[in-house]
Structures are given as structure tokens and as C-alpha cells.
């Protein structure tokens, strides 16, 4: 044993002991969120509408991509998944109006944008999906002064940017308030802008918009901020789930 080691052995052991203690402490669960889910034997997944293409696929009874992912996550956590449809979620642009509470949801999905506004309230785990505006309807170029339908739904995309681009094209925007109005407008041969999450009539031609027209945002699953153990478990399960 060298002189150097003899001199530093004791302090090195003390510091090593302290580091080991802190490392052991870092594995303690910081909250009860995962334990609570395990105790109640259910993982509640809130979505805006069970008919959303992210929740339901074209075939009857088949799950959409976000629901498939969440089913895989729930299976990895060993918990039954309960899908909860929140009517307010799809109807308002402002998340405050959705009136979702911890009592209803453990995880929020079905088209939640990875935006700073949502990050202020929730812990977001990106799920590989994206939301953007697309052009639906006839492929022919619209002349200046032509009318174009716009259905924003509850998509949290930049409306000012889109309206600026529409003005620059010289098109007249016709707001379409409901999904039924959009369907009727497209069936009547019109061209409309809608988000990628909007179900469109079969055989509708769809084209991407240029980047200056509208932003494209990542989609995410939202967990209540502060639910550290549940978030960790879902993040781990998501990383083991094949991307959609």
C-alpha cells in the first residue's frame, strides 16, 4: 500500500460512503402516482373524441395509432387501460376550457400538441405523431379571389400565420364552424384547409401546405406535472414500444 493511499484512504472511504448513500436515496420513489395506479388497477387515458383518427382506425373496433401505443404502454405497466372521452376537449381551442382533472385522467392524448402552453401545465412525452394543416379537395390551383374553406377545429396551430398566408395568396377564406359543414363543403366540390387530425370524406385529395402557410407540431402524451414515478414508468414503456 503506497503512502499516498494510506493518507487518503479514510477520506476516500467517507466520501464514497456518502456518495453511495445519496445514490441509494436517488432510487426512492418521490411520489405515489404509480403506486396509486397499481392500487386502483387502472390507467385512465383521456381523449377528445373516441372517433378521432388517433384513437379509432378506419376498421370498426380497431384502435388508432395513439390508442395502440397507449395499450402497449398499459400492458408493459401491467395495468388495464380505460379510455375516457372528454367532450370539452375537442370543442375549444383554449385548454383551460377542457376542464380536465386528475380525477378523470392519468394520461391525456388524442392530438395533444407539444406546445409551450401545454408544457406549462403538463409533462409532455412526444409520441412520434405530428399535427399540421393540409389542403383538401380538388388539386387544381385556385385563382386569386377564389374562395377556400377553413376548418380549424380545436387545432392549436398558428391561425394568424395561416390567415396572413391566405391573404398573400389573394384567396377569400370561408370559415367552416363544424365538421358537418366541412364535409358538405368538400362534397360540393370546394377546396378547404383542415388539420391532419380532421376525418375527411373518403377519396378526398389531400396536399401539404408550404411551410410559410402553417406550422407543424409534434404530438405528445400529457401527464400531470409532479407525477414523477408514473411519468418515468410511461416514458420507459414508450421507449420500449415500437414507433408508430
Amino acid at each position: 500500500m503506497t503512502r499516498w493511499w494510506r493518507r487518503w484512504r479514510k477520506p476516500a472511504l467517507d466520501i464514497g460512503l456518502i456518495a453511495a448513500l445519496l445514490l441509494a436515496v436517488s432510487f426512492l420513489p418521490p411520489d405515489t402516482s404509480l403506486a396509486e395506479r397499481r392500487k386502483q388497477r387502472v390507467l385512465r387515458f383521456c381523449v377528445p373524441d373516441l372517433a378521432s383518427p388517433l384513437v379509432a382506425a378506419d376498421q370498426p373496433g380497431a384502435p388508432g395509432p395513439e390508442l395502440r401505443q397507449m395499450q402497449a404502454v398499459a400492458a408493459r405497466l401491467g395495468l388495464p387501460l380505460q379510455t375516457v372521452a372528454i367532450a370539452n376537449m375537442g370543442r375549444s381551442f383554449n385548454p383551460r376550457d377542457w376542464q380536465i382533472g386528475r380525477g378523470q385522467c392519468d394520461i391525456i392524448g388524442g392530438g395533444l400538441a407539444d406546445s409551450s402552453a401545454n408544457r406549462d401545465f403538463l409533462t409532455l412525452l412526444p409520441n412520434g405523431g405530428r399535427i399540421a394543416m393540409v389542403r383538401a379537395g380538388p388539386a387544381a390551383e385556385l385563382p386569386k379571389g377564389a374562395e377556400i374553406g377553413v376548418f380549424m377545429g380545436s387545432a392549436g396551430l398558428d391561425r394568424l400565420r395561416l390567415s396572413g398566408w391566405l391573404r398573400a395568396q389573394g384567396w377569400r377564406a370561408r370559415p367552416l364552424a363544424t365538421q358537418a359543414a366541412l364535409d358538405a363543403y368538400l362534397r360540393g366540390g370546394g377546396t378547404a384547409l383542415a388539420s391532419t387530425l380532421t376525418p375527411l370524406p373518403p377519396d378526398t385529395k389531400v396536399a401539404d401546405l408550404p411551410p410559410e402557410a402553417a406550422e407543424s407540431q409534434s404530438l405528445a402524451f400529457g401527464l400531470w406535472r409532479g407525477d414523477v414515478t408514473l411519468t418515468r414508468a410511461v416514458r420507459r414503456a414508450l421507449s420500449q414500444t415500437p414507433a408508430r
Partner: protein, 269 residues
């Protein structure tokens, strides 16, 4: 060149002495581990539910972080503050037992002797800050290697400035007991009035801010240099700044130079 080597040897000798003393002082080591445990494990976990999202749109901490994540960098600063300022006790100790006189009559410039001591204190304080980093997993803070390296460099600069400040305090106080009381009356108010345990919501305007908090508290937080030191470390570790990050880095750099010069003036008087 021949005069530089003895100075470097002298600085190294004094630095090593301080490190040996710090690593053999069980009380200091226990303090370094108990503070993060109390603050993160008990206060952090205890208050976390009160700051978490309950209902969409009705949360108390409107920041994209959990309370544990928000508190984590502040606990590192607290550990550094305590170790750095308490280190100055060794200056009183050295003065009391005549070691300081021996150092000051040695053929070593006064600035070099002070530098050796301060570097020793700053190294020990940085070590105590690094100990808290081990708890990053617990606080759900994901760290990358560049982040850790940047944090360690910043923590060392902060420790250096605070150790110099401690030496200045030690030069004003003559007894161990007096220094203990004095340091607590300095550390705790500085720490609590630094937005360390609650945020000044950056989304609020000045008018909204003074409607939320009393104006004197907002003023106190804004003039407190530790506010910016904590904020800069938050920027490094959790990527969140309430103030421009450059302010924190600038203040710490200025503190290193300013407090060292002040400590040099007071040292060995």
C-alpha cells in the same frame, strides 16, 4: 520562471492542506449530505403535491417543471453557500492558533497564500455541490455530460466568489461563535430572498408581479445577487431562466475578482 515554481508549490501546499482538512472534517461532510437530503427529500417531496397540476389550467406553479426539478439547482447553491462561507472559520482558526502568522511571514506573496486557501475552500464547496448532483435522478432532472461539466465549472466559480466573501466576513468577526451566528444571518436571508424556493413567474408583468407578491419582496429578490446565481445554474441544469442567463454568469465572474481583491485587502490584517 524560477520564482513562479515556488509560488505554485506554495499555493499547492496550502490548497492541499485545506482539502485534507475538509475531507477529514466529519461534521462538514455530514452537513454536506444532510442539507440536500433535508431540502430535496423532505421539503421537496413534501411540497411537490402542492405545486403539481391538479386541474388543467388551475396549477400553482405555472412553469414547465415539477417543484422538485425547480428546487434541485437551488439546493446545490445552498450546499455551496454553506460550505464556502463556513470555510472561513478555518481563517479564524488559523489566526487563533498562529498558523496564519507563519504563512504570512513565509516567503510567499500574500495573494498566493490567500489564493491557496480560497482554492482549497472552493474545491471543497464544489465537491459538496457535486454530491447533490447524485440526487438528479430522484428530482427527475436528466443531465448530459456537457451539462455536468458546465455546471461543475460554474459551481467552482460560484464557490470561489463565495469563499472570498467568507474570508471577508471572517476578517470582520473575531470569534468562532460570532462567525457562526453571523454566517447564518447572512446565508439564510440571502438564500430565501433569491427565488430559490418559489418562482417569480416570468409570464407575469411587473404590475401582475407586485399584485402577487409585496413590492418589497420583489425588490429584495431582484437586488439579491444569489437570485441570479441560482437562476444561471437553473439555466444550465433544467434549461429554465427567469432572468437573462448572462446576468448570473457576469455577476459570478465579477464576484470572483471583486471579492478576491476585497479578501486580499482584509486577509491577515
Amino acid at each position: 520562471m524560477s520564482s513562479v515554481v515556488p509560488i505554485l508549490r506554495g499555493i499547492h501546499g496550502i490548497w492541499l492542506r485545506e482539502i485534507m482538512r475538509a475531507t477529514r472534517d466529519k461534521g462538514q461532510l455530514l452537513g454536506g449530505v444532510s442539507r440536500p437530503l433535508i431540502w430535496l427529500l423532505i421539503l421537496g417531496v413534501g411540497l411537490n403535491p402542492y405545486f403539481r397540476g391538479e386541474v388543467f389550467g388551475e396549477v400553482r406553479l405555472v412553469l414547465p417543471y415539477s417543484y422538485l426539478q425547480f428546487l434541485f439547482p437551488a439546493v446545490i447553491v445552498l450546499n455551496i453557500m454553506y460550505t464556502s462561507i463556513q470555510f472561513a472559520v478555518s481563517v479564524i482558526w488559523d489566526r487563533e492558533f498562529g498558523f496564519l502568522r507563519e504563512v504570512l511571514v513565509a516567503p510567499l506573496p500574500r495573494w498566493a497564500a490567500l489564493l491557496g486557501k480560497v482554492l482549497g475552500g472552493a474545491t471543497a464547496a464544489t465537491g459538496h455541490g457535486i454530491l447533490v448532483l447524485i440526487l438528479a435522478r430522484f428530482a427527475d432532472v436528466t443531465l448530459t455530460v456537457p451539462q455536468v461539466l458546465q455546471a461543475v465549472v460554474y459551481m467552482f466559480a460560484l464557490s470561489f466568489a463565495l469563499t472570498c466573501f467568507g474570508v471577508v466576513l471572517a476578517s470582520k468577526v473575531r470569534s468562532f461563535e460570532g462567525f457562526g451566528v453571523f454566517s447564518n444571518t447572512v446565508i439564510l436571508p440571502l438564500y430565501f430572498a433569491s427565488s430559490s424556493v418559489f418562482p417569480l413567474d416570468p409570464s407575469l408583468t411587473r404590475t401582475q408581479l407586485v399584485a402577487t407578491y409585496p413590492e418589497w419582496l420583489v425588490w429584495l429578490i431582484r437586488v439579491n445577487p444569489i437570485t441570479y446565481a441560482v437562476d444561471a445554474l437553473r439555466g444550465i441544469l433544467i434549461n429554465f431562466n427567469q432572468f437573462p442567463a448572462q446576468t448570473g454568469f457576469g455577476l459570478v465572474a465579477a464576484g470572483c475578482v471583486g471579492f478576491f481583491l476585497w479578501a486580499l485587502r482584509s486577509f491577515g490584517r
